[in-house]
C-alpha cells in the first residue's frame, strides 16, 4: 500500500467535500441552511459530465455545473428567503429533485467517457518533502483552486466589508436591514453562491476526481457529509478544509484495507466478498456522526454556535422594528 498515493487521492476527494462545505458555510453564514447540497452536487455532476460530453470542452462543462448548481440555489433561496418556507423541508425537496432529475438527465451517460480537466504538477512546491508529492504533484487544477479558496474565504468573511455584511445578515438581519443592507438580496446572493460551489463540487467528481457517471452513486452522500463537516467546523472555512481533507484521507485508506490479504499476520476479515467488509463501509458515516457530535460539543462549550439567525426567515417589521 502506497501511503503517499492514498494521501494524494485523499487531497483530490477532499477538494469535492471542501467546495461543498465552503458553499454551505457561505449560505449558513448568511442565515440560510441548505440541506439540498446532495441534490445540487448531483445536478452539477451530471451537468458537468453531459455538457463536457456534448461540447468536448470540460471548461464549458464546469461552467454548466456551476450554472445549474446556482439555479438550484436560486430556487431554494426564493422559496426560503422570499416565500419564507421552512429551510429544512425546502432543502430536502431540493435533494429529492436533484437526485431524481440527475438520474433522468443522466440516463444513458453511464459507461461513457469525456475529456477531463487538466492536471499538472506545480514546479517548486512539488519538491517539498512529504507535502509536495501529496498535494502538488499531478493534481487536477480544481484541487489547486480548492487550496486558494480556503484562505480567500476566510479573508472574505473576517476581514472585508462584504464579509462584515455577510456576518451581519446571518447573525442579526434586523440590524443589517436598518443600516440599509439588503438582507433578502444578500442572503439570496450567498445561497446562490453556495449552490454554485456545490455544482462545482459535483463537476469536480465527474470531471476530475472520479470521472464518469454512476447514477446517484456518483456523489454517494458526499453532500450530506459536507453538511456534517460544516457543523464540525463551526462555520469556519479553515476547520472545514481540515475536516474535508482528513475525511477524504481516511476513506481511501479504508478502501485500501480491503486490498491487503493479511493484517498483522491474521487473515484480513475485511476482504471484498467477506461480509465483515460492510463494517468498514460503515466507518465513514460513523465518522461523520462522530465529528458532528464533537462539533456540537465544542460549540456548546465555547459558546460559539450557529449564526444566530440560521434557519429563520427574516421578516421586516419583526423583532422590535
Amino acid at each position: 500500500m502506497d501511503l503517499g498515493l492514498i494521501a494524494a487521492a485523499g487531497v483530490a476527494t477532499g477538494t469535492v467535500l471542501l467546495f461543498a462545505a465552503i458553499g454551505e458555510i457561505f449560505a449558513e453564514r448568511a442565515g440560510v441552511m441548505n440541506l439540498g447540497v446532495e441534490g445540487m452536487m448531483l445536478m452539477g455532476a451530471v451537468a458537468g459530465f453531459s455538457v463536457t460530453g456534448a461540447t468536448g470542452n470540460p471548461w464549458i462543462g464546469v461552467m454548466a455545473a456551476m450554472l445549474v448548481g446556482g439555479l438550484f440555489g436560486l430556487l431554494h433561496g426564493i422559496v426560503t428567503i422570499h416565500l419564507r418556507a421552512d429551510q429544512v423541508v425546502s432543502g430536502l425537496a431540493l435533494t429529492f429533485l436533484g437526485t431524481g432529475l440527475a438520474r433522468v438527465l443522466g440516463e444513458g451517460l453511464t459507461n461513457t467517457n469525456v475529456e477531463r480537466l487538466p492536471a499538472f504538477t506545480i514546479p517548486v512546491l512539488a519538491n517539498l518533502p512529504i507535502v509536495g508529492p501529496i498535494a502538488f504533484q499531478n493534481q487536477s487544477i480544481l484541487v489547486y483552486v480548492g487550496f486558494l479558496l480556503v484562505p480567500l474565504t476566510w479573508f472574505w468573511i473576517a476581514r472585508t466589508r462584504p464579509g462584515l455584511h455577510l456576518r451581519a445578515v446571518g447573525e442579526s438581519p434586523a440590524a443589517a436591514d436598518v443600516q440599509g443592507i439588503g438582507v433578502y438580496r444578500l442572503r439570496l446572493v450567498y445561497v446562490v453562491f453556495g449552490g454554485i460551489l456545490a455544482g462545482l463540487a459535483g463537476a469536480t467528481i465527474t470531471l476530475a476526481v472520479a470521472p464518469g457517471w454512476f447514477g446517484d452513486q456518483t456523489v454517494n452522500s458526499k453532500g450530506w457529509i459536507a453538511i456534517g463537516l460544516v457543523i464540525f467546523a463551526r462555520w469556519s472555512p479553515i476547520w472545514a478544509a481540515f475536516g474535508a481533507y482528513l475525511f477524504a484521507a481516511i476513506s481511501p485508506f479504508i478502501l485500501a484495507l480491503q486490498g491487503v490479504p493479511t493484517i498483522l499476520g491474521v487473515e484480513n476479515p475485511f476482504l471484498p466478498g467477506r461480509s465483515a467488509t460492510f463494517f468498514l463501509e460503515m466507518l465513514p458515516y460513523l465518522f461523520v456522526v462522530g465529528v458532528v457530535i464533537l462539533g456540537s460539543r465544542s460549540a456548546a462549550r465555547r459558546r460559539i454556535g450557529a449564526p444566530a439567525a440560521l434557519g429563520l426567515p427574516y421578516v421586516r417589521g419583526e423583532r422590535g422594528l
Partner: protein
C-alpha cells in the same frame, strides 16, 4: 437656552402623515415639526402611534399619505439609509446591533467606507475619538454581547453620529436605563443640541419629558392632541389629559398591608445567565403571604434570572423554599405543583404558544388535572368549557376559544395569561414586566388582578422596569444591581432618588454626597 426656541429654523417638518396597517390607522393626518438645536418630546401612550410616525421619518415605513420636508425640501425615503443620508437617524427600543461583532464593526456596518478591507485599527481610533467628544464612553474593540444595555445604547447613538446624523430620534431611551444613567444620557443629548443637532424624544413618562424637552407634541390614538407645546408653561396634569383623554390614573386602591407567613424564601442563590456569566450572586429575599415584593433593577441585572430560578426554569446554587419545601433546581412541573404561578417576561413565545388556540393556551397549567385531563387523555369538551369560563370571567376579547393566541392584542393576551395563572389558585405569583407595552386600560386591569390576588392572601414577586409601577403596587422594594440585592426597604421608605442610586451601584453612603433627589429625569 439663550436663543428663543421659536426663532430657530425648522429641521424637519411632517405634514398630514397617514399610515394604516391592516385593521388599524396608526397615524391619522399627523403634523409634526422639529427645530434645529431643540429636544422635542413625542408623548403618548403605548399604541398612540408615536413609533409609527418616527419610523416613517426614519425611512423604515413609507407613509400612505402626507409629506416630509427636511430643511425645507421635500424628501422621499426608500429606506433607513436614505433617511440617514438626509441626516435623520433613529435609536429603536430594541437595539439593532449585531451581538457577535465589535463596537467598531457595528458602527461601520452598512457604510461605504471602508471600501473593501476592514482596516480595524484606523476605524477604532475614529470611533474612540467620536465617543470621547460626546461623552459616550465605550470600548471600540468590545463585542456587543459583552456590553451592558446602557453601553449598547451608546453604541447605537455612536452609529448615528458617525453617519453624520443631525436629527436623532430616540424611542423610549430611558426604558432600559437607571435614573442616573438617564441623567448621563440627557447630558449627552444636551451636548448634541448645543452643536445644533436636534433630538426627538419618544416617551410616555411625563416627568422626564418636562425635564429634558424644549417642546412637546402629544399623540392619542393616532392623532396629535397637542402640537409643539413649549414645556416651559406645561404641567403634568395638562399633558396627562392630552395623552389619555381623561385625568391620569391614580395609584390603585390597596387594602391595608397584612402580611402572613413567609411563602417564598430565597437564601444565598447564585446563577449563570445564558452566556454562562454570573447573573445572580448570593441573592436572598423573602416574600410573605399578602405581600407584594417589587424588584427594582435596570434590565440585565439578574432580575430575569431570579424569576427563572424560582420557577424552575434555570439551574442555580443556593436554597429556595416555597412554603418551607426546597424547590431549588427542581423541574418546573414540581415548582408548579407547589402553587407557584408565573407571568413570564416574554408573553408571546414563553407565556403562550402563538399558533395554538386560546383553549390550548389556557389549559397549559391544568391539562394534567381533572376535569381537563381524563386519565391520559385531554377531555376536549371540559377543556373548552374551562377556557370559555376563563374567557368570560376575565373578559378576554376573542371571537371564540379556538382563536390562535397570536391574534389576541397585547392586553388580552396578558389577561389570558393572568387568568390562567391566577386560576391555579397560586400561593405565590412571579410576575415579570406584567404591563410592558400595554395601554392604560389594560395596565389598570392587570394591576387590579395583582392587588386582588394580594388581598386574597397571595404572595407576589413583582419584577418590573417601571419604577412607578413598583412604587404603586409593592409593599416592599428590593433593589438589584449586578446580580446582588443591594437594598431592601418598605415601600414607605422607598424614595426614588435612593432607589435610583442603588440601581446604579451607588451605596447608601453615597447618597448624602450626591443630590440625586434633584435629578431631573426621575420626577414622578
Amino acid at each position: 437656552m439663550t436663543e428663543e426656541p421659536a426663532a430657530r429654523p425648522l429641521a424637519v417638518e411632517a405634514r398630514g402623515i397617514v399610515k394604516t396597517f391592516p385593521g388599524v390607522r396608526a397615524n391619522d393626518q399627523v403634523d409634526f415639526d422639529l427645530r434645529r438645536g431643540e429636544v422635542h418630546a413625542l408623548l403618548g401612550e403605548n399604541g398612540a402611534g408615536k413609533s409609527t410616525l418616527m419610523n416613517v421619518l426614519a425611512g423604515l415605513y413609507r407613509q400612505d399619505a402626507g409629506e416630509i420636508l427636511v430643511d425645507g425640501a421635500p424628501v422621499a425615503f426608500g429606506s433607513p439609509r436614505d433617511a440617514i443620508a438626509a441626516g435623520i437617524g433613529m435609536v429603536h427600543q430594541h437595539f439593532t446591533l449585531v451581538p457577535s461583532q465589535t463596537v467598531t464593526e457595528n458602527v461601520l456596518l452598512g457604510l461605504d467606507r471602508p471600501r473593501f478591507f476592514l482596516r480595524e485599527r484606523q476605524f477604532e481610533g475614529e470611533v474612540a475619538a467620536l465617543a470621547t467628544r460626546f461623552g459616550l464612553h465605550v470600548d471600540p474593540r468590545a463585542k456587543i454581547w459583552q456590553l451592558s444595555v446602557g453601553e449598547q445604547q451608546r453604541v447605537e447613538i455612536l452609529k448615528l453620529l458617525y453617519r453624520g446624523a443631525r436629527i436623532l430620534i430616540m424611542d423610549e431611551p430611558t426604558a432600559v436605563l437607571a435614573p442616573q444613567e438617564a441623567d448621563e444620557l440627557f447630558v449627552t443629548l444636551r451636548s448634541m443640541t448645543a452643536e445644533g443637532r436636534s433630538v426627538v424624544f419618544i416617551s410616555h413618562k411625563l416627568g422626564e419629558v418636562l425635564a429634558i424637552a424644549d417642546r412637546v407634541t402629544v399623540m392619542r390614538r393616532g392623532r396629535v392632541t397637542a402640537a409643539g407645546l413649549p414645556t416651559a408653561g406645561a404641567t403634568k396634569a395638562d399633558l396627562a389629559r392630552l395623552m389619555v383623554g381623561r385625568s391620569v390614573i391614580d395609584a390603585p386602591d390597596r387594602t391595608p398591608f397584612a402580611p402572613g407567613a413567609v411563602v417564598l424564601a430565597v437564601h444565598g442563590v447564585s446563577a449563570l445567565n445564558d452566556r454562562g456569566l454570573p447573573a445572580m450572586r448570593d441573592v436572598s429575599l423573602d416574600v410573605r403571604s399578602g405581600e407584594i415584593v417589587g424588584i427594582a433593577a435596570v434590565a440585565g441585572n439578574g432580575q430575569s434570572e431570579l424569576a427563572e430560578v424560582v420557577t424552575g426554569l434555570r439551574p442555580c446554587q443556593g436554597e429556595i423554599l416555597v412554603d418551607g419545601d426546597s424547590v431549588a433546581n427542581r423541574p418546573a412541573s414540581v415548582v408548579l405543583r407547589h402553587g407557584v404561578a408565573h407571568v413570564p417576561e416574554d408573553r408571546t413565545t414563553v407565556g403562550t404558544a402563538p399558533n395554538l388556540s386560546l383553549t390550548d393556551n389556557l389549559i397549559m397549567k391544568r391539562y394534567r388535572d381533572a376535569p381537563v385531563a381524563h386519565g391520559l387523555l385531554v377531555d376536549e369538551a371540559a377543556a373548552r368549557a374551562f377556557a370559555g369560563g376563563l374567557r368570560d370571567t376575565y373578559r378576554i376579547a376573542s371571537p371564540n376559544v379556538d382563536t390562535p393566541a397570536r391574534m389576541l392584542s397585547g392586553g388580552n393576551l396578558q389577561r389570558a395569561i393572568l387568568a390562567r395563572e391566577i386560576e391555579t389558585n397560586p400561593g405565590l405569583l412571579i410576575a415579570v414586566q406584567p404591563t410592558r407595552g400595554l395601554d392604560v386600560g389594560a395596565i389598570e386591569s392587570v394591576h387590579r388582578l395583582l392587588l386582588d390576588l394580594r388581598a386574597g392572601g397571595g404572595a407576589i414577586l413583582l419584577i418590573s422596569e417601571e419604577l412607578d409601577e413598583i412604587l404603586a403596587l409593592a409593599d416592599r422594594v428590593d433593589v438589584m444591581y449586578e446580580g446582588r440585592v443591594v437594598g431592601s426597604m418598605p415601600v414607605e421608605e422607598a424614595e426614588i432618588g435612593r432607589i435610583g442610586l442603588l440601581m446604579t451601584g451607588g451605596s447608601e453612603a453615597d447618597r448624602d454626597a450626591t443630590p440625586v433627589g434633584a435629578a431631573p429625569g426621575v420626577a414622578r
